[in-house]
């Protein structure tokens, strides 16, 4: 696709749609809007447009469609694969001002809102009204629009599933500016292809989410975490399928290793409640009554002890949960602080192969002589594996990173895993995705993209 060169007339037209103050010209756009959270991909937009309504998004898209201007949607910019980076310049359509919570429908248990509402505000609003919005990705300052676009997962996926499972309806602006409604407040829907589910996880390449209706659950009143020390990582992770099969499904199953915990202790200047073991599982249970939760955790504790755990430590108060989860929340920043630069692999493998994959990542660390750290969602097989640059020079870093990633993605394929569990493909993981997906599947995806966006103006060069 050949795009039109963005000029002063385009800027004026956008300003006529959105007003002077909400359209920023290329030279006045800060660096922050040229990359996302991981920072590997950098490109400056010609204009940053802060939209405030579906009508405005539609008007901007109509203009862009008519003038062949590429458009990239951006929420908070907390993505990790370059998905919100405008590779062809053009318009950066920023939804961060669309923060209205439109309706809480208590009878249908749905929440309708605009795409710029932050995940933490969605969770808080739901809880204040006695509901739970289950998806719980670590990045709470992400927008709900971004979460929908990447089909974000998070720690509670083991029990509750991922974002797609909680999107009931969407209002979507198509690349040509048309506005369509998909899904609704209905619980079941067998009416044709599920376009709503196709938009979820499409990373802003098919349409723009202008409004979403989310499904809520009743808020579980009781929550307890178990911190389970194991002599080594292998026995810890191998216990996970047993735990999940036992009577009550935990909401989260995280694994963590001593060196990552030590890094978090140093980073936070606060001790972790236990440091007796090399590896830990962190299990969380929720439920409507104390009895229900106690029964659940006791069953899991027994299963873990039988699988070689040295104990099962109980975290049942706000203070205790805070001590554990603040460390868990600091892992990423602690690893980041321990090195000069890093890149992440967000593969997902079948639950039964998690231990094998992590042990393999250690082998890669040895073989490629590069530091690799990991922690993550043992319960759903989604691993976050960080390759760290440390003191390597630019050339050596790039070469070693490519080798290590090559090894890791090849292993994930071998174990019948997928390239991304929750971050998406964006731009950064495209090459790995193309290697991993079948040519037939890729052709179908490209076909779908062409149907939605025949001019290819929406988020060019992403996903497929």
């Amino acid at each position: 696709m050949k795009y039109k060169a963005f000029d002063a007339a385009d800027l004026a037209a956008l300003r006529a749609i959105c007003g002077e103050g909400r359209v920023t010209a290329r030279d006045d756009i800060g660096e922050d809007f040229c990359h996302d959270e991981l920072g590997g991909t950098f490109s400056r937009p010609d204009a940053r447009v802060r939209v405030t309504s579906t009508a405005e998004i539609s008007a901007v898209m109509k203009y862009a469609w008519g003038h062949d201007i590429p458009v990239t949607v951006r929420g908070s910019g907390t993505g990790l694969v370059g998905g919100a980076v405008p590779l062809e310049g053009g318009i950066l359509l920023d939804t961060s001002m669309m923060t209205k919570i439109v309706e809480l429908d208590e009878r249908n248990m749905t929440l309708t809102l605009e795409p710029g509402v932050l995940l933490m505000d969605v969770a808080k609003f739901a809880e204040e009204h006695g509901f739970l919005y289950p998806p719980d990705p670590g990045e709470k300052t992400a927008t709900i629009g971004g979460n929908i676009s990447t089909n974000a997962g998070g720690m509670r996926a083991v029990k509750y599933g991922v974002t797609r499972d909680y999107v009931r309806g969407l209002e979507v602006v198509l690349p040509n500016g048309d506005v369509i409604e998909l899904g609704g407040k209905v619980v079941k829907n067998s009416s044709g292809y599920s376009l709503k589910d196709l938009i979820v996880g499409s990373e802003g390449t098919l349409g723009i989410v202008a409004r979403a209706t989310l499904r809520l659950l009743p808020l579980p009143k009781y929550k307890i975490s178990l911190l389970v020390p194991f002599p080594d990582l292998e026995s810890a992770v191998n216990a996970v399928p047993e735990v999940i099969r036992s009577a009550s499904v935990p909401t989260a199953v995280e694994f963590m290793e001593r060196d990552v915990i030590l890094a978090a202790e140093e980073f936070q200047a606060r001790k972790f409640p236990d440091n007796s073991a090399d590896a830990y599982l962190l299990l969380t249970f929720d439920g409507a009554s104390r009895e229900e939760v106690e029964l659940a955790y006791e069953t899991a504790a027994k299963t873990c002890l039988a699988a070689g755990a040295s104990d099962a430590l109980i975290s049942d108060t706000q203070e205790r949960n805070e001590a554990i989860w603040s460390a868990r929340g600091a892992f990423l920043e602690a690893i980041k602080a321990s090195t000069t630069e890093m890149d992440e692999c967000d593969v997902v493998v079948p639950r039964s192969r998690v231990a094998e994959f992590i042990l393999y990542s250690r082998e890669v660390q040895r073989r490629r002589n590069i530091r690799i750290r990991s922690f993550g969602h043992a319960g759903d097989g989604n691993l976050h594996i960080y390759v760290l640059r440390d003191a390597l020079g630019e050339g050596e870093w790039k070469a070693k990173l490519a080798e290590a990633f090559g090894d890791l993605y090849a292993k994930a394929r071998e174990l019948r895993g997928q390239v991304s569990g929750e971050h998406g493909i964006g731009y950064a993981k495209k090459a790995f995705f193309e290697e991993s997906a079948s040519p037939e599947a890729l052709a179908l995806m490209r076909g779908i993209k062409a149907v939605f966006d025949p001019k290819g103006i929406l988020n060019p060069h992403k996903v497929v």
Binding site: L226, L227, R270, K271, F272, P273, D274, E298, A301, L305, D311, A312, L313, I314, S315, D316, T317, E319, R320, A323
Partner: protein, 265 residues
Amino acid sequence: MKILVCIKQVPGTTQVEIDRETGTLKRDGVPAKMNPFDLYALETAMRIKAKAGDGSEVAVLTMGPPQCEAVVREAFMMGADRGAILSDRAFGGADVLMTSFTLAKGVAKTGPYDVIVCGRQTTDGDTAQVGPEMAEWLGIPHVANVKSIDRVGAGSIDVTVDLPDCEIAERVPFPCLISVEKGIFEPRLPSYRLKCATAGREIAWLRLADLDDTDPKHYGLNGSPTQVKRIFPPESHVERVALEGDDKAKAARLADILDERKFLR
């Protein structure tokens, strides 16, 4: 070495109603937990026990209605070796003075101890006075604001005391009482293994009749000199400071403020 930790069951949330007549907290039907400050006291006791070596033990003592057994069981799950509960209607409604008096009677009954460890304060009473007052009733030395345990000897303990403008290193002879600061150690979590192992462990229940002073006028609401005159929500205000000047001056001033408030070490 015999170590005692005084613990208390407190409301699990801050949403607690107050009895307008007596000025005491309505605890019935409210989810409860161990006073968070006591977790640090219990952890400190476990560390002292580990340093003191074989034959040492950690006991816990609490006072409250029968349901406060839960915090003693929880202390067992964190490693305490034995527990006692002061529970009698006559003890109800006690103010700081009567609480410390009753606890002192409990100590006399279940002791002797080399070291008594208390948390800094409770999250419901918030006075931070019960520990020191108890030591006064017992006639033993006491040190509050303890931020670290530096040495555990055969007849004394070395501690560092955190005061607003200085720190003091103290050697305190046994028997003694120390009140420890939040954060002295990161408290361990209750263990499921210990939960199973201590489920049937007996707890000593102490009623008024078991103490050496059995006059009910010396306990509870009756014995408390504190009279609640009025109850009102505390005033709160948020202080905002705007820094003036260029970036360098503002940064320097900010660093000073953080330093004054001990955020920089």
